[in-house]
Symmetry: C2
Subunit: 263 residues, 2 copies
């Protein structure tokens, strides 16, 4: 073991807008010589990435991206593992710790990983970007559910959808659809409709905070997987969420209580 | 109606660390002449607040703070309504839209509010700060529950706790205790223990990202309201969350799936 600090930064860079990237994220990228990320994320960051070695593995290679980041950091090169949104929310951060855990249990052969210092830098998630664009969707209790049944059995997801319904949580769907998956979102809608009104507001936020941003507010019973793609965040209000229209502006907010006694 | 733009910024400034404040938040504060906030939030921001008029109402005066912000903006003064964390998550943003909604329904007498342009700037929430400090607690489906029964009946909260348990969500508690409330958190613990193991990791994050930061990782059955105060974020893992120890560092992560087939 050398006395050189081996450093891995695990960084979320927010929804896309450079004005929503935390200064700490930029500091950590600045301090790194190696950047491990899906290519598109780096384009949004611009100059700060110049002069650094980019390791750009394709989507689907997540576990190898986490391995590469640990390997590079363990070799003494200060490394940044980067994703958009919050890297701690359904993203790469958990894979780094899963690998460390495997090593601690003796199921990997990379003792050098255990010498790596890790700092996780949170970022503003797509869910928060969507909520802020329409007002205050997350004003009261909420949950997130990934609709991808690649790693979680559909029965588990379905049970969770019923729990979200019975608990009347505002629900944000991650991985709502993919090229191979299109029926889950409509099933999720039908389950929620068992618990909350058809007119419950739903926000579709596509390419949030980026040039191509498109935000739509629809009713829960109008939600259709055909209107949603991999770049869309879908959030459904709870039974008290309100869609209000003020001239050319429209908003969705979720009241912070169920008594409304203060107004 | 004049042709002057009447602007209200509704801004979350993150958990406390200046390096986690979004540049957009600072831009909006810079552009404002009036700042409406609980005093402590402004101290953390420093210089950017110099030369502006501070309107510092005490805690508990939330609705009046939202009214004041709308009034000031409607009078033509560019105004920033500020809170720590994400102002859209259990915070002031929803009160602004609740007031607008009341006006649109004719229950207020402030038509001038309807001319105010509103921009909401999200911030990094305490939940995300806690998760990043311990690794990747929010790697899979999660929910948030406020334990304050001031505005939400306890029966609703209790039902939601059972839903969080049956859905096996990672759970973050907002408003876990207050000077007047101490039994809710222990009841919440007991409900979760009906659904997940006693050794489920729980994170207590106090004064996150600030100088006095203190982060502890305990077991669910060790959670006790006496160890928690109003400045503490409490997050309980799901049944698969893992607490791992690597020398002097310890981490909590929640695997991103229930199959673990990739490792």
């Amino acid at each position: 073991m050398t006395d050189t600090k081996k450093q891995l930064f695990v960084i979320g860079t927010g929804p896309g807008d450079a004005q929503l990237v935390a200064p700490r994220a930029l500091q950590c990228i600045e301090a790194s010589s190696e950047l491990v990320a899906y290519g598109l994320y780096l384009e949004l960051l611009g100059n700060v990435c110049d002069g650094k070695t980019h390791h750009s593995l394709p989507l689907g290679e997540e576990i190898n991206r986490a391995r590469l980041a640990l390997d590079l950091a363990a070799s003494g090169k200060t490394t940044a593992l980067i994703s958009s949104g919050d890297i701690g929310i359904y993203a790469m951060a958990t894979l780094v710790f899963e690998l460390l855990d495997q090593q601690l249990q003796g199921r990997e052969n990379h003792p050098e990983w255990l010498d790596v210092e890790i700092e996780v830098v949170p970022g503003i998630s797509a869910m928060q970007a969507a909520a802020s664009r329409v007002g205050a969707m997350l004003g009261h209790d909420f949950c997130t559910i990934s609709l991808s049944d690649l790693l979680t059995p559909w029965e588990t997801i379905e049970k969770r959808l019923h729990s979200a319904g019975s608990g009347d949580f505002v629900v944000s769907f991650y991985n709502p659809v993919s090229k191979k998956r299109d029926w889950q979102l409509n099933t999720a809608r039908d389950i929620l409709l068992q618990y909350r009104p058809a007119e419950t507001p739903v926000v579709l936020g596509r390419q949030l905070t980026r040039d191509e941003e498109n935000v739509r507010i629809i009713r829960l019973d109008q939600l259709d997987a055909r209107d949603v793609d991999m770049f869309t965040l879908v959030s459904a209000g709870n039974s008290e969420s309100r869609h209000i229209i003020n001239g050319s502006r429209e908003w969705v907010y979720t009241p912070r209580g169920y008594r409304k006694k203060l107004l």
